[in-house]
């Protein structure tokens, strides 16, 4: 099976060479074979006619000796045939059919006085014939001659050697000629396929195939070149439009980054510049409270307290905004971070600040992720603070942190038993300054989850939440499992 298909994988050159040489070899062999057959036929005829001529001459010469019954003379006549090595036996019989003379002793080679017509001519390795000896139209005896065909065999063998030798020489010449001629066909095809390969590899559509002749191959080359020309034009157009697009993108990007920078500078300066009057409000509020307390009635004191509380809230708002802008701006410094330990530290801190009700915190150990430690700390601090805060009105606080992972992502779930929220507003959850609870219920800036969202997005992760009012809330942080770069 393999052998049958192998021809398909031959290179074109080899196929063409094989075809021409196979045809020519077949031709040469057929011609040689027919030459040999014809030569064999001709040589046999020639041999037969020569033998007949010899026998005829002998019969003519031996006529007189036969009628005079002179055996010695007969022997001397036919002994001239000893020089012809292929003649095996010659016998001369008189009219009565008795043997008069023979070339070789009749004991060594039999002298048949009569031979049947079927045995005349070529029989086996011999040619035998019998001619009458006539004198004045009267048969006075007959002559029998047998010759072996060694000469014929030798001649045909030599002829075969010569014919096949010449055939081989012609074939050699044909190999040379075919080698030259196959180029006429294969060269344009090879050039075309070479050009096609070069175009595919270098993606250079300015290359053109050489076109030779006006035959199918020439037309193929022309068509190919036209096709490549079309592709080149289209390519140029695409490249031009892409260059235009890139210019636009570059323009937009620079505009965008400029706007971003301005925004960052703005928010930074706003946060900084807002702090100064805030400190003044708070500072003078405190001074008023301390120095002029006796001049204020209870209402004035209440207002003053509210002013100070508002300025504290504004300070934490500004802090939140600063964190948010830092989270957005800062470059990531990825490393392996043990989330379990981090959460443990955060809960310890939270317990120190407020530990009013029994708290049950379960953190799965050995949660490792790749990411920026400081940013992740901001995110998880916000999440744990939320859980802590919204479960502060329950009889017992339960916070559960667990992680599941597959080959691509690790998902960390933070579940609490707090007040939860209505899933209707889940879309507003991660947008800055959106709060689902009034400040009187739970304090907060509305920036926390926006910051978390930003951090997780910057880590190419995702965050989602699930809750029901009064039945706690669950936050799922999905982070990609990156290979450790350290």
């Amino acid at each position: 099976m393999i052998g049958r298909w192998r021809l398909r994988y031959w290179p074109l050159k080899a196929k063409l060479l094989f075809l021409t040489l196979f045809t020519s070899t077949l031709g040469i062999i057929l011609v040689s074979a027919s030459l040999i057959v014809v030569e064999n036929q001709n040589y046999r005829q020639r041999l037969a006619s020569e033998l007949h001529v010899i026998a005829g001459i002998l019969a003519e010469q031996s006529a007189a000796a036969l009628v005079f019954e002179d055996s010695n003379q007969l022997t001397s006549i036919i002994s001239s045939l000893r020089r012809i090595g292929t003649i095996r036996q010659v016998c001369v019989f008189d009219a009565a059919g008795s043997l008069m003379s023979s070339l070789n002793p009749p004991e060594s080679v039999d002298c048949p006085s009569t031979i049947e017509p079927s045995q005349m001519g070529f029989v086996g390795d011999y040619y035998q014939l019998s001619v009458p000896v006539t004198l004045d139209n009267e048969t006075v005896g007959h002559l029998y001659l047998i010759s072996h065909l060694r000469a014929l065999r030798a001649h045909i063998q030599t002829f075969i050697v010569v014919v096949f030798g010449i055939g081989a020489l012609i074939q050699l010449a044909l190999v040379f000629v075919a080698f030259k001629l196959q180029r006429v066909v294969s060269q344009p095809i090879l050039a075309l396929s070479g050009t096609a390969e070069r175009i595919a590899q270098e993606q250079d559509y300015s290359i053109r195939a050489p076109v030779s002749g006006n035959d199918e191959l020439g037309r193929l080359g022309t068509t190919f070149n036209e096709m490549i020309g079309t592709i080149e034009q289209q390519n140029r157009r695409i490249l031009e439009s892409r260059a235009g697009l890139e210019l636009i993108v570059e323009d937009r990007t620079s505009q965008l980054s400029l706007a971003n920078k301005e925004l960052e500078a703005f928010s930074y300066s706003v946060s900084h510049d807002l702090r100064q009057p805030l400190r003044a409000i708070d500072g003078f509020g405190q001074a008023l409270e301390e120095d002029c307390a006796d001049q204020l009635n209870e209402t004035g004191k209440d207002y003053l307290r509210r002013i100070r509380a508002a300025s504290v809230r504004m300070g934490s708002l500004i802090d939140g905004l600063l964190v948010l802008s830092r989270v957005t701006r800062q470059p990531l410094e990825n490393q392996r971070v043990n989330i379990s330990e981090m959460l443990q530290e955060i809960t310890e801190e939270l317990k120190e600040i407020s530990y009013s009700l029994p708290t049950d915190i379960r953190i799965q150990s050995g949660i490792w992720v790749i990411g920026d430690g400081r940013m992740l700390r901001i995110a998880f601090q916000n999440l744990l603070e939320n859980a802590w805060k919204y479960s502060s009105k329950e009889a017992q606080r339960v916070i559960d942190v667990s992680a599941t992972s597959d080959s691509r992502f690790i998902t960390i779930a933070i579940c609490d038993n707090g007040v939860g929220f209505n899933m209707k507003y889940v879309n507003k959850l991660f947008v800055a300054f959106n709060r689902l609870h009034t400040p009187s219920e739970f304090g907060g800036t509305g920036i926390g989850l926006a910051t978390v969202y930003r951090v997780i997005r910057r880590h190419s992760g995702d965050i989602s939440a699930k809750s029901e009012v009064g039945k706690g809330a669950s936050f799922y942080i999905k982070l990609p499992v990156l290979t450790d770069q350290h």
């Binding site: 007189a64 009628v67 005079f68 055996s71 003379q73 004045d136």
Partner: protein, 173 residues
Amino acid sequence: MFVWKYLVALILCASLAPVHASVRSEYEIKAVFFYNFTRFVNWTHLPDNESPLRVCVIGDNPFGDLLEPLNGRKSQGRKLEITSPDDVSADHGCHVLFVSVSEARNLSGIVDAAHEQKLLTISDIPNFIDRGGIIGYIKQGNVIRFEINLRVANTLGLTIDSRLLELASRVIR
């Protein structure tokens, strides 16, 4: 070498054996030879190839009636007619002349006459060809052979086949 020669002799004897086996008299053989001579001689002066060939036997006929079978037999398309005339005159119209031993004394006269008539002369007179005859029988041991005087034959316009010449034991050219 001895063995080889012995073998050759044996083979020759064996091949000659049939000839000797049929015991034939000297004149039987001579008669056969006689007929065969006429087959290898060409009379160029004869007008056509079909006129009969007249064979004359002069003197005592040693063949007896052995020549009778030849009478009417054809040689080179010619019928043989055998006669025994008394003399060698042109009236008999002979073409072949057999000279009997009994005529040995008149040989020169007969030969001259024969030359005049361009006859093929045959005889078993010893040294016949040296004395102007054309074909002469000789005996070599037991074997009958013949001699030919080609020179005389040529002067008379008689062409003798070279095959016959080759069989002759002596040829005067």
